[in-house]
Amino acid sequence: LTAIVLAVVAAAIGCTSRSSSGGTSTAALDGGVLADPVQGSEGDTTLLGTDGNNNGIRDDLEAYIATLESDPEKVTALDSFARESTAMMVLGGTTGTTKVAASAQAQRVASTVDCLHDLYVSNLSTKQTIVQDVRNALYNNALRLGAYNHASTLVSGTLLYTGQGCDPAITGVDQ
Protein backbone atom coordinates (compact mmCIF):
# COMPACT_ATOMS: atom_id res chain seq x y z
CA LEU A 1 0.00 0.00 0.00
CA THR A 2 2.84 2.35 0.87
CA ALA A 3 4.43 1.80 -2.50
CA ILE A 4 1.15 2.51 -4.23
CA VAL A 5 0.69 5.70 -2.25
CA LEU A 6 4.20 6.77 -3.09
CA ALA A 7 3.76 6.00 -6.74
CA VAL A 8 0.60 8.08 -6.82
CA VAL A 9 2.24 10.96 -5.00
CA ALA A 10 5.30 10.79 -7.23
CA ALA A 11 3.18 10.75 -10.34
CA ALA A 12 1.06 13.63 -9.06
CA ILE A 13 4.00 15.95 -8.63
CA GLY A 14 5.73 14.88 -11.79
CA CYS A 15 8.79 13.71 -9.90
CA THR A 16 11.18 15.41 -12.25
CA SER A 17 13.50 17.44 -10.16
CA ARG A 18 16.12 17.04 -7.54
CA SER A 19 17.40 19.95 -5.56
CA SER A 20 19.58 19.92 -2.50
CA SER A 21 19.05 22.55 0.13
CA GLY A 22 21.25 25.54 -0.41
CA GLY A 23 21.64 24.75 -4.08
CA THR A 24 24.82 22.85 -3.42
CA SER A 25 24.14 19.75 -5.48
CA THR A 26 25.11 19.58 -9.12
CA ALA A 27 23.08 16.50 -9.88
CA ALA A 28 20.67 17.08 -12.71
CA LEU A 29 18.11 15.26 -14.75
CA ASP A 30 19.06 13.69 -18.02
CA GLY A 31 16.20 12.20 -19.91
CA GLY A 32 14.30 11.43 -16.72
CA VAL A 33 17.19 9.75 -15.02
CA LEU A 34 19.41 11.34 -12.43
CA ALA A 35 22.78 12.09 -13.92
CA ASP A 36 25.58 11.41 -11.48
CA PRO A 37 28.45 13.83 -12.03
CA VAL A 38 30.86 11.26 -10.67
CA GLN A 39 29.69 7.90 -11.85
CA GLY A 40 31.47 6.83 -14.98
CA SER A 41 33.45 10.02 -15.32
CA GLU A 42 36.73 8.20 -14.91
CA GLY A 43 35.76 4.83 -16.25
CA ASP A 44 37.34 3.24 -13.21
CA THR A 45 35.14 1.04 -11.12
CA THR A 46 37.84 -0.33 -8.83
CA LEU A 47 37.72 0.20 -5.09
CA LEU A 48 40.38 2.88 -4.97
CA GLY A 49 39.81 4.51 -8.32
CA THR A 50 42.32 6.91 -9.82
CA ASP A 51 44.18 9.09 -7.36
CA GLY A 52 46.69 10.99 -9.47
CA ASN A 53 47.85 13.35 -6.75
CA ASN A 54 48.07 10.50 -4.27
CA ASN A 55 46.22 12.31 -1.50
CA GLY A 56 43.92 9.44 -0.63
CA ILE A 57 40.90 10.83 -2.48
CA ARG A 58 39.78 9.71 -5.91
CA ASP A 59 40.42 12.44 -8.43
CA ASP A 60 36.83 12.60 -9.67
CA LEU A 61 35.55 12.65 -6.10
CA GLU A 62 37.90 15.45 -5.15
CA ALA A 63 36.76 17.48 -8.14
CA TYR A 64 33.15 16.79 -7.26
CA ILE A 65 33.61 18.02 -3.69
CA ALA A 66 34.99 21.27 -5.06
CA THR A 67 31.66 21.80 -6.83
CA LEU A 68 29.68 21.23 -3.64
CA GLU A 69 31.30 23.84 -1.43
CA SER A 70 33.21 27.06 -2.01
CA ASP A 71 34.47 27.80 1.49
CA PRO A 72 38.11 26.58 1.54
CA GLU A 73 37.97 25.45 5.17
CA LYS A 74 34.84 23.43 4.58
CA VAL A 75 36.32 21.94 1.41
CA THR A 76 39.33 20.86 3.46
CA ALA A 77 37.05 19.22 6.01
CA LEU A 78 34.98 17.53 3.31
CA ASP A 79 38.18 16.28 1.69
CA SER A 80 39.29 14.85 5.02
CA PHE A 81 35.94 13.09 5.38
CA ALA A 82 36.34 11.65 1.87
CA ARG A 83 39.94 10.61 2.51
CA GLU A 84 39.30 8.92 5.86
CA SER A 85 36.10 7.32 4.58
CA THR A 86 37.99 5.99 1.59
CA ALA A 87 40.61 4.49 3.89
CA MET A 88 37.82 2.92 5.93
CA MET A 89 36.18 1.55 2.79
CA VAL A 90 39.47 0.03 1.69
CA LEU A 91 39.78 -1.68 5.06
CA GLY A 92 36.28 -2.99 4.58
CA GLY A 93 37.21 -4.37 1.20
CA THR A 94 40.44 -5.95 2.36
CA THR A 95 40.50 -9.53 3.52
CA GLY A 96 41.85 -9.98 7.01
CA THR A 97 41.21 -6.48 8.33
CA THR A 98 40.97 -6.68 12.10
CA LYS A 99 38.33 -5.05 14.23
CA VAL A 100 41.06 -3.11 16.00
CA ALA A 101 42.30 -1.57 12.77
CA ALA A 102 38.81 -0.82 11.52
CA SER A 103 37.79 0.74 14.85
CA ALA A 104 40.83 2.99 14.88
CA GLN A 105 40.05 4.16 11.35
CA ALA A 106 36.38 4.64 12.18
CA GLN A 107 37.47 6.88 15.03
CA ARG A 108 39.40 8.98 12.49
CA VAL A 109 36.25 9.24 10.39
CA ALA A 110 34.46 10.31 13.57
CA SER A 111 36.90 13.19 13.88
CA THR A 112 36.02 14.41 10.40
CA VAL A 113 32.29 14.07 11.14
CA ASP A 114 32.87 16.11 14.29
CA CYS A 115 34.69 18.78 12.35
CA LEU A 116 32.02 19.04 9.68
CA HIS A 117 29.40 19.45 12.37
CA ASP A 118 31.32 22.29 13.95
CA LEU A 119 31.91 24.07 10.64
CA TYR A 120 28.29 23.79 9.57
CA VAL A 121 26.72 24.13 13.00
CA SER A 122 24.54 27.01 11.88
CA ASN A 123 23.22 25.08 8.90
CA LEU A 124 23.24 21.39 9.60
CA SER A 125 20.70 20.51 6.94
CA THR A 126 23.02 21.86 4.25
CA LYS A 127 25.86 19.86 5.75
CA GLN A 128 23.77 16.70 5.81
CA THR A 129 22.85 17.12 2.16
CA ILE A 130 26.43 17.76 1.09
CA VAL A 131 27.78 14.84 3.14
CA GLN A 132 25.16 12.55 1.65
CA ASP A 133 26.17 13.71 -1.83
CA VAL A 134 29.79 12.89 -0.97
CA ARG A 135 28.70 9.45 0.23
CA ASN A 136 26.83 8.90 -2.99
CA ALA A 137 29.98 9.64 -4.92
CA LEU A 138 32.21 7.67 -2.57
CA TYR A 139 30.22 4.47 -2.90
CA ASN A 140 29.12 4.70 -6.50
CA ASN A 141 29.49 1.09 -7.58
CA ALA A 142 28.60 -2.28 -6.11
CA LEU A 143 32.18 -2.98 -5.07
CA ARG A 144 32.55 0.26 -3.15
CA LEU A 145 29.11 0.04 -1.60
CA GLY A 146 29.79 -3.51 -0.51
CA ALA A 147 33.16 -2.56 1.00
CA TYR A 148 31.54 0.34 2.84
CA ASN A 149 28.93 -2.01 4.21
CA HIS A 150 31.55 -4.51 5.28
CA ALA A 151 33.56 -1.78 6.96
CA SER A 152 30.48 -1.03 9.06
CA THR A 153 30.19 -4.70 9.88
CA LEU A 154 33.78 -4.77 11.06
CA VAL A 155 33.20 -2.12 13.71
CA SER A 156 29.96 -3.55 15.02
CA GLY A 157 30.09 -3.55 18.81
CA THR A 158 32.53 -0.67 18.92
CA LEU A 159 32.06 2.48 20.93
CA LEU A 160 33.01 5.49 18.82
CA TYR A 161 33.48 8.89 20.37
CA THR A 162 32.50 12.33 19.15
CA GLY A 163 32.68 15.87 20.44
CA GLN A 164 36.39 16.41 19.90
CA GLY A 165 36.00 19.24 17.40
CA CYS A 166 38.37 19.63 14.45
CA ASP A 167 41.52 17.65 15.02
CA PRO A 168 43.99 19.42 12.72
CA ALA A 169 46.16 16.33 12.43
CA ILE A 170 43.26 14.47 10.82
CA THR A 171 41.06 17.11 9.26
CA GLY A 172 43.61 19.71 8.24
CA VAL A 173 41.36 22.30 9.83
CA ASP A 174 42.76 24.25 12.76
CA GLN A 175 39.93 25.79 14.72
Binding site: L34, Q107, V113, N136, L145, L160, Y161
Partner: protein, 468 residues
Protein backbone atom coordinates in the same frame (compact mmCIF):
# COMPACT_ATOMS: atom_id res chain seq x y z
CA UNK B 1 44.41 6.97 41.61
CA UNK B 2 44.09 8.59 38.24
CA UNK B 3 41.75 6.76 35.91
CA UNK B 4 43.77 7.34 32.74
CA UNK B 5 46.35 4.57 33.30
CA UNK B 6 43.56 2.11 33.95
CA UNK B 7 41.76 3.14 30.80
CA UNK B 8 44.85 2.92 28.70
CA UNK B 9 45.56 -0.53 30.04
CA UNK B 10 42.05 -1.61 29.27
CA UNK B 11 42.28 -0.09 25.81
CA UNK B 12 45.53 -1.86 25.16
CA UNK B 13 44.14 -5.08 26.54
CA UNK B 14 41.09 -5.12 24.35
CA UNK B 15 42.78 -3.39 21.47
CA UNK B 16 40.00 -0.93 20.88
CA UNK B 17 39.81 2.82 21.12
CA UNK B 18 38.73 4.07 24.54
CA UNK B 19 37.01 7.30 25.41
CA UNK B 20 40.14 8.41 27.26
CA UNK B 21 42.29 7.76 24.22
CA UNK B 22 39.89 9.58 21.94
CA UNK B 23 39.51 12.53 24.30
CA UNK B 24 42.09 15.20 24.86
CA UNK B 25 42.79 17.70 27.58
CA UNK B 26 40.57 16.33 30.29
CA UNK B 27 43.41 15.52 32.59
CA UNK B 28 42.25 11.94 32.71
CA UNK B 29 39.56 12.68 35.23
CA UNK B 30 36.05 12.88 33.94
CA UNK B 31 34.22 12.65 37.19
CA UNK B 32 30.51 13.40 37.29
CA UNK B 33 30.06 13.29 33.55
CA UNK B 34 27.55 11.37 31.53
CA UNK B 35 28.66 9.24 28.62
CA UNK B 36 25.67 9.49 26.30
CA UNK B 37 25.64 6.95 23.49
CA UNK B 38 23.39 6.51 20.53
CA UNK B 39 22.55 2.85 20.01
CA UNK B 40 21.60 2.78 16.37
CA UNK B 41 18.97 0.66 14.71
CA UNK B 42 19.34 -1.98 12.09
CA UNK B 43 21.89 -1.52 9.32
CA UNK B 44 22.69 2.11 9.85
CA UNK B 45 26.22 2.57 8.57
CA UNK B 46 28.86 3.64 11.04
CA UNK B 47 29.35 7.16 9.74
CA UNK B 48 25.64 7.86 9.54
CA UNK B 49 25.33 6.75 13.16
CA UNK B 50 28.14 9.16 14.01
CA UNK B 51 26.36 11.95 12.18
CA UNK B 52 23.21 11.29 14.16
CA UNK B 53 25.20 11.72 17.35
CA UNK B 54 26.87 14.98 16.37
CA UNK B 55 23.73 16.50 14.91
CA UNK B 56 21.01 15.23 17.22
CA UNK B 57 22.16 14.18 20.67
CA UNK B 58 23.66 17.43 22.02
CA UNK B 59 20.38 19.30 21.71
CA UNK B 60 18.50 16.41 23.30
CA UNK B 61 20.92 16.38 26.22
CA UNK B 62 20.67 20.13 26.62
CA UNK B 63 16.89 20.06 26.65
CA UNK B 64 16.90 17.24 29.17
CA UNK B 65 19.34 19.24 31.30
CA UNK B 66 21.47 16.26 32.28
CA UNK B 67 24.66 18.19 33.01
CA UNK B 68 28.09 17.58 31.58
CA UNK B 69 27.90 15.10 28.74
CA UNK B 70 30.26 13.42 26.34
CA UNK B 71 28.89 11.71 23.29
CA UNK B 72 29.47 8.59 21.32
CA UNK B 73 27.99 5.78 19.28
CA UNK B 74 27.40 2.29 20.58
CA UNK B 75 27.55 0.94 17.08
CA UNK B 76 25.52 -2.06 16.01
CA UNK B 77 25.48 -3.50 12.56
CA UNK B 78 23.62 -6.47 11.24
CA UNK B 79 25.14 -8.39 8.40
CA UNK B 80 23.19 -9.28 5.38
CA UNK B 81 20.56 -6.67 4.80
CA UNK B 82 22.60 -4.17 2.83
CA UNK B 83 24.13 -7.06 0.92
CA UNK B 84 20.60 -8.15 0.09
CA UNK B 85 19.79 -4.66 -1.07
CA UNK B 86 22.83 -4.54 -3.29
CA UNK B 87 21.93 -7.87 -4.80
CA UNK B 88 18.37 -6.73 -5.35
CA UNK B 89 19.59 -3.55 -6.95
CA UNK B 90 21.88 -5.50 -9.25
CA UNK B 91 18.89 -7.51 -10.35
CA UNK B 92 16.91 -4.34 -10.91
CA UNK B 93 19.77 -2.90 -12.89
CA UNK B 94 19.62 -5.89 -15.18
CA UNK B 95 15.93 -5.26 -15.64
CA UNK B 96 16.12 -1.52 -16.18
CA UNK B 97 19.15 0.16 -17.70
CA UNK B 98 18.07 3.51 -16.34
CA UNK B 99 18.98 2.37 -12.86
CA UNK B 100 22.34 3.55 -11.54
CA UNK B 101 24.25 3.21 -8.31
CA UNK B 102 24.09 6.86 -7.53
CA UNK B 103 20.36 6.50 -7.39
CA UNK B 104 20.53 3.44 -5.19
CA UNK B 105 22.94 5.01 -2.78
CA UNK B 106 20.75 8.05 -2.55
CA UNK B 107 17.72 6.09 -1.49
CA UNK B 108 18.85 2.82 0.02
CA UNK B 109 20.23 4.16 3.27
CA UNK B 110 17.34 6.50 3.77
CA UNK B 111 15.10 3.53 3.27
CA UNK B 112 17.05 1.69 5.90
CA UNK B 113 16.25 4.39 8.39
CA UNK B 114 12.68 4.60 7.28
CA UNK B 115 10.78 5.39 4.17
CA UNK B 116 11.67 9.03 3.67
CA UNK B 117 9.20 10.38 1.19
CA UNK B 118 11.25 13.49 0.56
CA UNK B 119 13.95 11.37 -1.01
CA UNK B 120 11.55 9.01 -2.68
CA UNK B 121 10.12 11.98 -4.51
CA UNK B 122 13.48 12.44 -6.19
CA UNK B 123 13.04 9.20 -8.06
CA UNK B 124 12.70 9.22 -11.82
CA UNK B 125 9.70 7.63 -13.52
CA UNK B 126 9.74 3.94 -12.85
CA UNK B 127 11.73 4.42 -9.67
CA UNK B 128 8.77 3.64 -7.48
CA UNK B 129 8.97 0.01 -8.59
CA UNK B 130 12.53 -0.14 -7.33
CA UNK B 131 11.47 1.50 -4.10
CA UNK B 132 8.74 -1.06 -3.62
CA UNK B 133 11.17 -3.90 -4.23
CA UNK B 134 13.77 -2.48 -1.88
CA UNK B 135 11.18 -1.70 0.76
CA UNK B 136 10.06 -5.32 0.74
CA UNK B 137 13.65 -6.48 1.16
CA UNK B 138 14.27 -3.95 3.89
CA UNK B 139 11.08 -4.66 5.81
CA UNK B 140 11.79 -8.37 5.78
CA UNK B 141 15.37 -7.71 6.82
CA UNK B 142 14.39 -5.48 9.70
CA UNK B 143 11.92 -8.01 10.97
CA UNK B 144 14.49 -10.78 10.71
CA UNK B 145 17.17 -8.70 12.38
CA UNK B 146 14.95 -7.60 15.21
CA UNK B 147 13.58 -11.05 15.81
CA UNK B 148 15.99 -11.81 18.60
CA UNK B 149 15.58 -12.27 22.29
CA UNK B 150 16.27 -9.34 24.54
CA UNK B 151 19.17 -11.05 26.26
CA UNK B 152 21.29 -12.40 23.44
CA UNK B 153 24.99 -12.25 24.06
CA UNK B 154 27.64 -12.01 21.39
CA UNK B 155 31.06 -10.49 20.83
CA UNK B 156 29.53 -7.13 19.97
CA UNK B 157 27.80 -7.01 23.32
CA UNK B 158 31.01 -8.07 25.06
CA UNK B 159 32.95 -5.28 23.34
CA UNK B 160 30.39 -2.67 24.22
CA UNK B 161 30.28 -3.80 27.82
CA UNK B 162 34.07 -3.52 27.98
CA UNK B 163 33.79 0.06 26.80
CA UNK B 164 31.07 0.84 29.30
CA UNK B 165 33.13 -0.65 32.12
CA UNK B 166 36.00 1.66 31.14
CA UNK B 167 33.55 4.54 31.32
CA UNK B 168 32.38 3.50 34.78
CA UNK B 169 35.96 3.30 35.99
CA UNK B 170 36.64 6.76 34.62
CA UNK B 171 33.70 8.15 36.56
CA UNK B 172 31.08 8.31 33.84
CA UNK B 173 27.56 7.18 34.25
CA UNK B 174 26.38 5.71 30.98
CA UNK B 175 23.12 6.33 29.17
CA UNK B 176 22.32 4.69 25.86
CA UNK B 177 19.70 6.40 23.74
CA UNK B 178 18.72 3.31 21.85
CA UNK B 179 16.69 3.25 18.68
CA UNK B 180 15.00 0.19 17.24
CA UNK B 181 17.41 -2.75 17.20
CA UNK B 182 19.83 -0.74 19.32
CA UNK B 183 17.50 -1.51 22.21
CA UNK B 184 18.21 -5.21 21.91
CA UNK B 185 21.94 -4.55 22.21
CA UNK B 186 21.43 -2.11 25.07
CA UNK B 187 19.26 -4.64 26.89
CA UNK B 188 21.82 -7.36 26.32
CA UNK B 189 24.54 -5.07 27.70
CA UNK B 190 22.34 -4.35 30.70
CA UNK B 191 21.99 -8.05 31.41
CA UNK B 192 25.72 -8.63 30.95
CA UNK B 193 26.63 -5.76 33.27
CA UNK B 194 24.13 -7.04 35.81
CA UNK B 195 25.80 -10.41 35.76
CA UNK B 196 29.18 -8.90 36.56
CA UNK B 197 28.65 -5.85 38.73
CA UNK B 198 25.54 -4.54 40.40
CA UNK B 199 27.52 -1.42 41.27
CA UNK B 200 28.18 -0.62 37.63
CA UNK B 201 24.63 -1.49 36.72
CA UNK B 202 23.35 1.25 38.97
CA UNK B 203 25.07 3.77 36.69
CA UNK B 204 23.78 2.34 33.41
CA UNK B 205 20.56 3.65 31.90
CA UNK B 206 18.67 3.11 28.68
CA UNK B 207 16.41 5.55 26.88
CA UNK B 208 14.44 3.21 24.67
CA UNK B 209 13.00 4.67 21.47
CA UNK B 210 10.96 2.63 19.01
CA UNK B 211 11.58 -0.37 21.19
CA UNK B 212 11.24 -3.78 19.51
CA UNK B 213 12.01 -5.67 22.72
CA UNK B 214 9.73 -7.54 25.04
CA UNK B 215 11.10 -5.77 28.09
CA UNK B 216 12.42 -2.34 28.97
CA UNK B 217 14.75 -1.72 31.86
CA UNK B 218 13.68 1.90 32.08
CA UNK B 219 10.68 3.51 30.48
CA UNK B 220 10.39 3.51 26.70
CA UNK B 221 8.73 5.41 23.87
CA UNK B 222 7.11 3.60 20.96
CA UNK B 223 4.69 5.30 18.62
CA UNK B 224 1.29 3.88 17.84
CA UNK B 225 2.05 4.77 14.23
CA UNK B 226 5.43 3.06 14.05
CA UNK B 227 4.86 0.77 11.08
CA UNK B 228 8.05 -1.24 11.61
CA UNK B 229 7.34 -1.99 15.27
CA UNK B 230 3.74 -2.76 14.46
CA UNK B 231 4.98 -5.15 11.81
CA UNK B 232 7.21 -6.81 14.37
CA UNK B 233 4.37 -7.04 16.82
CA UNK B 234 2.51 -9.19 14.34
CA UNK B 235 5.20 -11.86 14.53
CA UNK B 236 6.68 -11.60 18.02
CA UNK B 237 5.92 -10.16 21.45
CA UNK B 238 6.78 -6.48 21.56
CA UNK B 239 6.17 -3.87 24.21
CA UNK B 240 2.91 -2.04 23.59
CA UNK B 241 2.95 1.36 21.91
CA UNK B 242 2.60 4.27 24.30
CA UNK B 243 3.23 7.41 22.29
CA UNK B 244 1.03 9.26 19.85
CA UNK B 245 3.10 10.69 17.01
CA UNK B 246 0.83 11.65 14.12
CA UNK B 247 1.53 10.18 10.72
CA UNK B 248 3.48 12.59 8.60
CA UNK B 249 5.02 12.79 5.16
CA UNK B 250 8.62 13.10 6.34
CA UNK B 251 8.57 9.47 7.51
CA UNK B 252 5.76 7.24 6.37
CA UNK B 253 7.04 4.38 8.49
CA UNK B 254 6.85 6.47 11.65
CA UNK B 255 9.95 4.56 12.73
CA UNK B 256 12.90 6.83 12.04
CA UNK B 257 14.81 8.19 15.01
CA UNK B 258 14.48 11.63 13.45
CA UNK B 259 10.72 11.19 13.47
CA UNK B 260 10.73 10.47 17.20
CA UNK B 261 12.84 13.53 17.97
CA UNK B 262 11.36 15.89 15.40
CA UNK B 263 10.90 19.21 17.25
CA UNK B 264 7.62 19.73 15.42
CA UNK B 265 6.15 16.47 16.66
CA UNK B 266 5.14 15.40 20.17
CA UNK B 267 7.61 12.54 20.32
CA UNK B 268 10.55 14.79 21.05
CA UNK B 269 9.14 16.08 24.33
CA UNK B 270 8.50 12.50 25.41
CA UNK B 271 12.04 11.40 24.54
CA UNK B 272 13.53 14.43 26.29
CA UNK B 273 11.43 13.76 29.37
CA UNK B 274 12.47 10.13 29.36
CA UNK B 275 16.14 11.06 29.05
CA UNK B 276 15.76 13.52 31.89
CA UNK B 277 14.06 11.03 34.17
CA UNK B 278 16.59 8.30 33.44
CA UNK B 279 19.46 10.70 34.13
CA UNK B 280 17.91 12.05 37.31
CA UNK B 281 17.65 8.56 38.75
CA UNK B 282 21.12 7.48 37.65
CA UNK B 283 24.00 7.89 40.14
CA UNK B 284 27.58 8.48 39.08
CA UNK B 285 30.02 5.67 39.85
CA UNK B 286 31.00 6.35 43.43
CA UNK B 287 34.47 4.79 43.47
CA UNK B 288 35.70 6.77 40.50
CA UNK B 289 34.32 9.99 41.93
CA UNK B 290 36.28 9.44 45.11
CA UNK B 291 39.43 8.63 43.19
CA UNK B 292 39.26 11.76 41.10
CA UNK B 293 38.46 14.02 44.02
CA UNK B 294 41.55 12.74 45.78
CA UNK B 295 43.66 13.76 42.81
CA UNK B 296 43.43 17.36 43.84
CA UNK B 297 40.80 19.38 42.11
CA UNK B 298 40.59 17.80 38.68
CA UNK B 299 36.84 17.72 39.02
CA UNK B 300 36.62 21.47 39.12
CA UNK B 301 34.30 22.73 36.46
CA UNK B 302 33.04 19.27 35.72
CA UNK B 303 30.17 19.26 38.14
CA UNK B 304 26.99 18.59 36.24
CA UNK B 305 24.10 20.96 36.28
CA UNK B 306 21.79 18.21 37.40
CA UNK B 307 23.12 15.72 39.85
CA UNK B 308 21.40 12.46 40.58
CA UNK B 309 20.22 12.05 44.09
CA UNK B 310 22.94 10.38 46.14
CA UNK B 311 22.15 6.87 47.07
CA UNK B 312 21.20 6.58 50.71
CA UNK B 313 23.32 4.43 52.91
CA UNK B 314 22.29 0.86 52.73
CA UNK B 315 21.60 -0.59 56.13
CA UNK B 316 19.96 -3.90 56.66
CA UNK B 317 19.01 -2.98 60.17
CA UNK B 318 17.14 0.05 58.89
CA UNK B 319 15.61 -1.52 55.87
CA UNK B 320 12.54 -3.00 57.40
CA UNK B 321 10.43 -1.68 60.18
CA UNK B 322 8.64 -4.99 60.27
CA UNK B 323 11.78 -6.91 60.96
CA UNK B 324 12.72 -4.65 63.81
CA UNK B 325 9.34 -5.08 65.40
CA UNK B 326 8.79 -8.77 65.29
CA UNK B 327 11.54 -10.51 63.47
CA UNK B 328 9.98 -10.31 60.09
CA UNK B 329 7.52 -13.17 60.34
CA UNK B 330 4.61 -10.80 60.36
CA UNK B 331 4.04 -7.12 60.07
CA UNK B 332 2.62 -5.22 62.97
CA UNK B 333 4.22 -1.85 62.57
CA UNK B 334 2.26 0.77 64.40
CA UNK B 335 0.05 2.44 61.81
CA UNK B 336 0.18 6.11 61.05
CA UNK B 337 -3.03 6.93 59.29
CA UNK B 338 -2.85 4.68 56.26
CA UNK B 339 -4.20 1.37 57.37
CA UNK B 340 -6.19 1.29 54.18
CA UNK B 341 -4.92 2.54 50.86
CA UNK B 342 -8.45 3.59 49.98
CA UNK B 343 -8.26 6.26 52.66
CA UNK B 344 -7.86 9.68 51.09
CA UNK B 345 -4.25 10.82 51.25
CA UNK B 346 -2.91 7.28 51.41
CA UNK B 347 -0.85 5.79 48.64
CA UNK B 348 -0.69 2.09 47.92
CA UNK B 349 2.59 0.40 47.14
CA UNK B 350 3.09 -3.17 46.21
CA UNK B 351 6.27 -5.12 45.83
CA UNK B 352 7.46 -8.29 44.21
CA UNK B 353 10.60 -10.19 43.40
CA UNK B 354 11.16 -11.37 39.87
CA UNK B 355 13.79 -14.04 39.53
CA UNK B 356 15.57 -14.65 36.27
CA UNK B 357 17.91 -17.49 35.51
CA UNK B 358 18.85 -20.08 33.00
CA UNK B 359 17.47 -23.50 32.32
CA UNK B 360 19.08 -24.98 35.43
CA UNK B 361 19.06 -22.34 38.13
CA UNK B 362 16.95 -19.47 39.33
CA UNK B 363 18.20 -16.29 40.91
CA UNK B 364 16.98 -15.28 44.33
CA UNK B 365 17.02 -12.25 46.57
CA UNK B 366 15.38 -10.26 49.32
CA UNK B 367 13.14 -7.22 49.20
CA UNK B 368 12.37 -4.94 52.08
CA UNK B 369 10.60 -1.62 52.33
CA UNK B 370 11.38 0.71 55.18
CA UNK B 371 8.00 1.50 56.65
CA UNK B 372 9.46 3.88 59.21
CA UNK B 373 6.84 5.59 61.29
CA UNK B 374 4.61 6.51 58.37
CA UNK B 375 4.01 3.35 56.44
CA UNK B 376 1.74 0.48 57.12
CA UNK B 377 1.87 -3.11 56.03
CA UNK B 378 -1.48 -4.03 54.56
CA UNK B 379 -0.67 -7.67 54.11
CA UNK B 380 1.92 -9.82 55.84
CA UNK B 381 4.68 -10.38 55.23
CA UNK B 382 5.96 -6.99 54.18
CA UNK B 383 9.42 -8.16 53.35
CA UNK B 384 10.90 -11.19 51.64
CA UNK B 385 14.09 -12.99 52.39
CA UNK B 386 16.13 -15.18 50.05
CA UNK B 387 13.30 -16.31 47.92
CA UNK B 388 12.79 -16.82 44.24
CA UNK B 389 9.10 -17.57 44.42
CA UNK B 390 7.83 -14.88 46.72
CA UNK B 391 4.45 -13.78 47.96
CA UNK B 392 3.14 -10.37 47.10
CA UNK B 393 3.93 -7.40 49.29
CA UNK B 394 1.36 -4.69 50.01
CA UNK B 395 2.00 -1.47 51.88
CA UNK B 396 0.55 1.99 52.22
CA UNK B 397 2.10 5.37 52.90
CA UNK B 398 0.79 8.88 53.47
CA UNK B 399 1.07 10.93 50.31
CA UNK B 400 4.41 12.71 50.22
CA UNK B 401 6.21 10.26 52.48
CA UNK B 402 9.75 9.38 51.47
CA UNK B 403 10.10 5.64 51.15
CA UNK B 404 13.21 3.49 50.95
CA UNK B 405 13.19 0.02 49.43
CA UNK B 406 16.16 -2.32 49.45
CA UNK B 407 16.81 -5.24 47.14
CA UNK B 408 19.50 -7.66 48.30
CA UNK B 409 20.64 -10.54 46.10
CA UNK B 410 21.11 -13.96 47.57
CA UNK B 411 24.40 -15.80 47.20
CA UNK B 412 25.10 -16.48 43.55
CA UNK B 413 22.64 -13.88 42.36
CA UNK B 414 22.95 -10.23 41.42
CA UNK B 415 20.50 -7.41 41.53
CA UNK B 416 19.61 -6.64 37.91
CA UNK B 417 17.19 -3.76 38.10
CA UNK B 418 13.89 -2.55 39.33
CA UNK B 419 11.02 -3.19 36.98
CA UNK B 420 8.69 -0.47 35.96
CA UNK B 421 7.36 1.56 38.83
CA UNK B 422 8.60 4.03 41.41
CA UNK B 423 12.05 2.47 41.67
CA UNK B 424 12.73 2.05 37.95
CA UNK B 425 16.23 3.10 37.04
CA UNK B 426 17.56 3.27 40.59
CA UNK B 427 20.18 1.16 42.29
CA UNK B 428 19.47 -1.65 44.74
CA UNK B 429 18.65 0.89 47.43
CA UNK B 430 15.75 2.85 46.06
CA UNK B 431 14.26 6.04 47.44
CA UNK B 432 11.04 7.50 46.18
CA UNK B 433 8.31 9.84 47.29
CA UNK B 434 4.84 8.39 47.62
CA UNK B 435 2.84 10.34 45.09
CA UNK B 436 0.93 7.82 43.05
CA UNK B 437 0.27 4.11 43.56
CA UNK B 438 3.02 1.95 42.19
CA UNK B 439 4.31 -1.56 42.19
CA UNK B 440 8.04 -2.02 42.62
CA UNK B 441 9.68 -5.18 41.42
CA UNK B 442 13.20 -6.19 42.39
CA UNK B 443 14.64 -8.27 39.57
CA UNK B 444 17.54 -10.61 40.10
CA UNK B 445 19.73 -12.60 37.75
CA UNK B 446 22.30 -15.31 38.27
CA UNK B 447 25.82 -14.10 38.83
CA UNK B 448 27.34 -16.91 36.81
CA UNK B 449 24.77 -18.45 34.52
CA UNK B 450 25.72 -21.81 33.15
CA UNK B 451 25.19 -20.65 29.61
CA UNK B 452 24.26 -17.13 28.59
CA UNK B 453 21.82 -15.87 27.73
CA UNK B 454 19.76 -16.27 30.83
CA UNK B 455 16.19 -15.22 30.68
CA UNK B 456 14.99 -12.09 32.34
CA UNK B 457 12.16 -12.22 34.82
CA UNK B 458 8.60 -11.87 33.75
CA UNK B 459 6.78 -8.91 35.15
CA UNK B 460 4.62 -9.96 38.07
CA UNK B 461 3.32 -6.64 39.26
CA UNK B 462 -0.29 -5.99 38.38
CA UNK B 463 -0.82 -3.13 35.99
CA UNK B 464 -3.11 -1.55 38.52
CA UNK B 465 -1.43 -1.79 41.92
CA UNK B 466 -4.65 -1.00 43.67
CA UNK B 467 -6.31 -4.04 42.18
CA UNK B 468 -6.73 -6.99 44.54
Amino acid sequence: MNARPILLLIALAIGLVSRAAAASGDGGCSTASTALYFGNGVNVTYDKALETVTDKLPSLAAEANIGKVEFGVAYNHTDGLIADIIQTAQQKQAEDSRFNWFLLNNIAFDLLEGLNVLNILKLPPGGSALVATLQNVISAGIVASDDQTGTFYDSDVADQVSGYEADFQAGYRVIVVAHSQGNLYANACHAAIAASSSTSLASFGIVAVADPAEIAFNEYETSYNDVVINLLRAVKPVLPANLDIPKNLSDLTGHMFTNYINPKLPGRAAVVELLSSVATALPYPQAATTACESDGGETEGAVPETDAEPEPEDSASESSGCEEEDGGSSCEVAPAQCTDFATPGCIDFQGAIESGGDSRNTAAGSLSIDLGSDGYCLQSPCEFEDCYVCPHLDTAFPEGATVTATATPSAGSVFAQWGQGACAGQGPTCTFVAVTPSCITAQFLLQNPTAPPQSLPDASCPEDPTAP
